[in-house]
Structure formats: structure tokens, C-alpha cells
Amino acid sequence: MKKLINNAEDVTLEQLKGFGLAHPEIEVHFDPNYVAVAGGVQNRVAVVSGGGAGHEPLHGGYVGMGMLDAACPGQTFTSPTPDQMYEAGKAVNGGKGILQIIKNYTGDVLNFRMAADLLRDEGIDVRNVVIDDDVALKDSLYTAGRRGLGTTVIAEKVCGAASQEGYDLDRLEALCKKVNIHGKSMGMALTPCTTPQNGTPSFELAEDEMEIGIGIHGEPGTERMPIKSADEITEILATRILEDGAYTRELTEWDSEKGDWVDVEVKDITFQSGDEVIAIVNSMGATPISELYTVYAKLAEVAEKHGVKIVRKLIGHYITSLEMAGVSITLVKADEEILRLYDAPVNTPALRWGV
């Protein structure tokens, strides 16, 4: 294991310390660990996310004006614990409630849900929106459901802007759900990665093999196959995303009228000719930015064949798995509302424009 770390046990802590020093406009709180916009939130909905560390810049790098108000990092690839989201929520609550944006991993979902219960006990209105956009997983009945991938980044950007615009919690929750059903992603790995805690790679891949349909936790994908050219790989991912059906599943949501968790059937959009999309071509870590452009070229070609037009794009490191080599692609269908909010000013360590 070759890493720029001091102590594998304290690695998330020492990184958080550096993050705080580098970004004095963001407050870093320890024990429980969270990062939050300094001074909290006044008179608008607070937007909170979090998840295991190792996906940087997600989520801490998206804290700031126009995006997240707080992020709760867990240990590497391990979801954070409820006390983190509870304290972070109390710290940023601006009296208008909290939107929690949660990637669909059992650990994240359970821990955020516990935190939401605790916050509600304090009289704070909390909504959980789960992002489950990974088209590599077909089925929800016999699995934990689709994982949360790159749509999370767009959801955080768009919802942060909407909170700035003054959306109330109901409207913001609805918007976040819309982004989720508008977004589809899929990833692949050329190499595994190594958590500092383990010191050895999470799986093994021969020199001529790759994993297709990976998540973001260094886990193997849904399929292993012989390595292919960038064009072939991109075609596989892009086609799966663009031709994905209207994925339907039950998601557990908080029903504020009933005051209880309820199961709601949720159905994805399917991409149609004429759609405009926001695209992310994301390096899993070690893959250089230059290679992402080869992927982008093919993605644009495949999208065009489907009549889908890429109107905004992010090409770089947005939701990573440590030093894994590989790429993930995200497409989010953008209507006027999503595009307006995407274009709104943002000022975070990892995304900045308009200011």
C-alpha cells in the first residue's frame, strides 16, 4: 500500500483536519465528525448529505454556498453513524427543515433514517431522499436495490441552489426525487483500490480483465470481462444508461402527514429522443482526465444516436473510489427547472462558478 498518510487508523480524521485548515469558510466538527457551512443556515431548508470517506470530493467538497450545508463522512467506505447526522442537522438547521440526500446503500439508508428519527424527536422536520441511479443493477426485489452513484452530485447541486432560491421542504423533497428518477449512472473498474485500513486491494483483476457495473466502494462489479477499448467500454455503459427501462421499486419515505415511514412506488424516467441531459464523465480515481475525453467523445456519439443532447457536462473527479482506475458515466435528464438550478452560482471546494 502506497499512500500519503500518517496513520491508517486515523486517516479520515487527519484528512478532515487538513480539509478544515484549507477551507476556513467551512466548519469542521469532530466527535461526531461533520463539516458544515460556518454560521449555519438562516431561514431556508438545510441540505445535508454524507457517506463513507474515500469518494472525495464527495461529499465534503460540495459543502458551501449553493450546494450542501453539511456533510457527514464515515470511515473509509463505511457509512457514517446517526449521531453525526443528528449533530450536523442540529448545527445547520435554519428553522425550515432538513433535506437529507442519501446514496442507496443499506448502511447509509439505515443510519440516516435513525438520525432523521432522532431529529424529528427534537421537532425538526426532516425528509430523506434516496438516490438509486445505478443501472448496472436490474432488480430491486432480490437485491438491496440500485446503488447511488453520480446523480448524487447533480442532486446536491440542484437542491442546494433550490434552497437558496427559497424552496420550502415539500418542494425541495419533490425536486430531489425528480432529479433521482431523471438520473442514471453506470461505472467500471480497470483496477481495484486499497483502503488504508486494509492495506491490500479489495479484489483482484488480471492484467487483461475489467469489472463492469461497479459501485463506489472498491467492491467487484456485476460482471467481469476481458478488457476492451475505451470506445467499446463507453458504448456498453452509455447504451445501458440510455436504453434503461422505467425502473420501478418501492422506496421508504417519511410521510409527514401520517408521521410515519411509508413505502412508495417510484418509477424512473426513460430517455427519449429530444431529451437534454447533464452528463458526468467521472474518473474513479487513478484514471487521468485525458482518458475521460476519449470516453466523452464516444458518449456524445452514442447519445446523439439516441437523439439525446448533452447540454452541460462535468469531466473529472467527482465521485471516486480512492485510487481505483476506471470511469463512471451519469446522465441526468434536464428540464428547465433542473437546468436553471444547475446553472445557479455555487462556491464549494470542488464546484465553483458564478461567484
Binding site: 464515515g74 467506505f77 463505511t78 443499506t106 437485491t143 467492491e219
Partner: protein, 219 residues
Amino acid sequence: MSDTTNSEAAVSAAAIRLWLQKSAEVLAEKRAYLTELDSPIGDADHGNNMDRGFKAVVATLSDKEDVGAVLKAVAMTLISKVGGASGPLYGTFFLDAGKPFAGKAALEPADLVTMFEDGIAGVKKRGRAEPGMKTMLDAQIPAAEALKAAVAEGKSAVEALKAAADAAEEGMKATIPMQAQRGRASYLGERSIDHQDPGATSSYLIIRALAEAVAETSQ
């Protein structure tokens, strides 16, 4: 060792504490092994998570003679220290397992059955899981059933827990041919087959630690 007069004694808060200590020891010892199990079908952190959690449990172990309070403290520590899927699930197990025993200084064999059944009900609800889905439940449920049967036959706590631990071990092994339907492993579909579930394994280790702790304190 030869003195068996106490063998039918109730399970004391001290025995529960010893259980937790022994759990922490075995989870520390098996940390790399559990993480290895979590590697082909998960994200290679289960050993780290459980070790971190139970180290914290031992560090904050209350010396109250109140079994319910001890179990509740365990739950809160696990919830705030483990993270991942297993944190809230084990946390819920101990939370619900301890609830009926607030203020109680010891558990009778029948209480052990209640403890397991309530804990399991909590895990099932929290994780929306059923037996056969290749989760920690696949070690816990056979253990609870064996425990219940042994107690119904009038076996001692020591004997009944030994049966429970053996059943958990069987249940753990039985996860190998299962296809995962919950948690990270479910993402792998058929590729999750032929791997032992890490959570079922940690559950077995914890149940075995209980059987040993009660056996030792009953001698």
C-alpha cells in the same frame, strides 16, 4: 470446574459483561478474517467495523447490575461507532434485545429466548430481511430456534446456549450456497454464491462468545 451446583444459575449482568468482553476479543482476533469475507462480496470492512465497535463497547462497559441498561449502552455504542449496515442492525439487535430487561439483574433461560427473539425481530424490521437472504439473520435465527427448543426441553442456560452456538455455526455455513438478497452482497447477484456471509460469521462468533461466557461464569 467440578462444582456444578451453580450450573442452573441465572445469567448475571457480570456474565453479560464477560460475553461482551469475549465478543470484543474474538472480533479483534478475527478482524482480518471477517474483512476478508467481506472482500469478495462486499466492501472489505466488516472486520474493521465490528472490531472498532466492540472495542468501544468494552471501553464504555457500564458496571451496572442492570442487564437492560448494559444492553442498551451496548446498542448506543454500536450505533455510534460501527457505521455501515451492521452498525444500525447490531445496534437494533441489542436495543430491542435489552428492552424487556430494564432493571433486571439476571436472565433466566426463558429470558434468553425472549432476548434473542426480540433482537431478531428488530433486525428483520430494520433491514427488511428474512431468513435465506444471506445475512446475519441466517446465523441468529437458527440459534434462537435451537435455544428455544433446548430451553423447552429443560436444558440449562449453558447447555441451551451451546446448542444455540452450534446452530449459529451451522447457519453461518449454510450462507455459503445462498444468493444474497440484502446488503452490498446482493449487488453481485449469482456471484455472491459460494461465499460465507461476513455478518452471519460475526453473529456466530458473538453467540459462541455468549455460550462461553455463560459457561465460564456458571462453573
